[in-house]
Amino acid sequence: MAGGGSQNNEQGQELNLIPYLDVMVNLVIFMLMTITGFLNFTVLNASIPQLNTDPSQAQVLAKGEELLLVLRVKDDAFVVEPTVTGGPRMSKETFPKIEDPETKARVYDMKGLNALMVKIKERFPEENKVLMISHSEVSYENIVHTMDAVRETKPGEEDLFPEVTLSI
């Protein structure tokens, strides 16, 4: 009896949630449509060659074995030119394009380049810079992938040459 009474009261006081629900559904749909948060962006830092006008810094750099690593991205191949000053020379290496087993298209040999970068890094663990000179028709996508191959062995590691300088 008493229970029946209170149930009746509750029913009388129930909020009308329909308009609220309408707003919610609209908001959720709008946000799901416009959201870009699921796209996970990242940035690659790059710079251009800088003139070194400070002679004292140049002298510090000139001590010991020094590496100037140049990577040429040609139309059909990678050419790695490591120039060593004050130490034994390193040979120039060329990585021609290889055939992609899935698409059968000619693609750059990112793995080969990455393996060579690991080898160079072993000899010059302090060096972080690489100068990238690209052919004018190379696409931006290939440049980004090349930068990935030069920079790290595993995603996010930055264990090879992360300071890429873009040149022409």
Binding site: T42, N45, S136
Partner: protein, 197 residues
């Protein structure tokens, strides 16, 4: 006397109870006809949680990067640095003749066939500067410099976010990057999509 009163109370109580039962009967009858309201509380809980989650991820991605299948698809990268807000330099897809170079949201150059061939000839002659773009970027740099005088938290850090379509050739990238360095933005942040790991 008190007996009579008791009987009256009892009668009153029975009448009340009957009324109650009648109304309950009526309600059950209503239920059977399908007039009962749905219980929306659980659904509302779900929506509220979804909304809160979306609002949270909205604030994280406050930086709007305009990406669309037709106009701009950025390359993938294994890099994992989070982008920071900077002046945006956008180059959209250009092979359909509708490409644009934009600074923030302002379209600066339309890359139609004539413009592209001029730019390409200039680039092959090692004339990389794009005048219109330089003017737009310098205006942007001046704006930041003026703001930095008023607000010490804003500094002109020479950073520019380059959002480019993946098929843009390097000669155009070179021209654009050269121009932006000439206008004072020489720290490039090349935007890419993070590869899922």
């Amino acid at each position: 006397m008190s007996n009579l009163q008791q009987q009256l109370e009892m009668l009153e109580f029975r009448r009340f109870k009957n009324r109650k039962q009648n109304s309950r009967h009526r309600k059950i009858f209503d239920d059977a006809a399908g007039a009962q309201e749905l219980n929306l509380v659980a659904m509302m809980d779900m929506f509220t949680i979804l909304l809160v989650f979306l609002l949270k991820s909205y604030s994280v991605s406050a930086m709007s990067i305009p990406v669309g299948e037709n106009r701009l698809s950025v390359p993938m990268s294994s890099h994992t640095i989070n982008p920071i807000e900077a002046v945006k330099l956008i180059i959209t897809r250009m092979d359909n003749g509708e490409g644009v170079i934009a600074v923030d949201a302002n379209e600066v150059i339309t890359l139609d066939d004539a413009t592209l061939s001029t730019l390409k000839t200039n680039a092959s002659n090692r004339k990389y500067l794009i005048d219109d773009l330089k003017v737009a970027l310098q205006a942007e740099a001046d704006k930041i410099k003026k703001l930095s005088l008023l607000n010490p938290e804003i500094t002109f850090d020479h950073k520019i976010m380059v959002i480019s379509d993946k098929d843009v050739p390097y000669w155009l990238m070179t021209s654009v990057l050269f121009t932006s360095a000439d206008a004072g933005f020489d720290q490039y942040n090349l935007v890419a999509l993070r590869e899922s790991q």
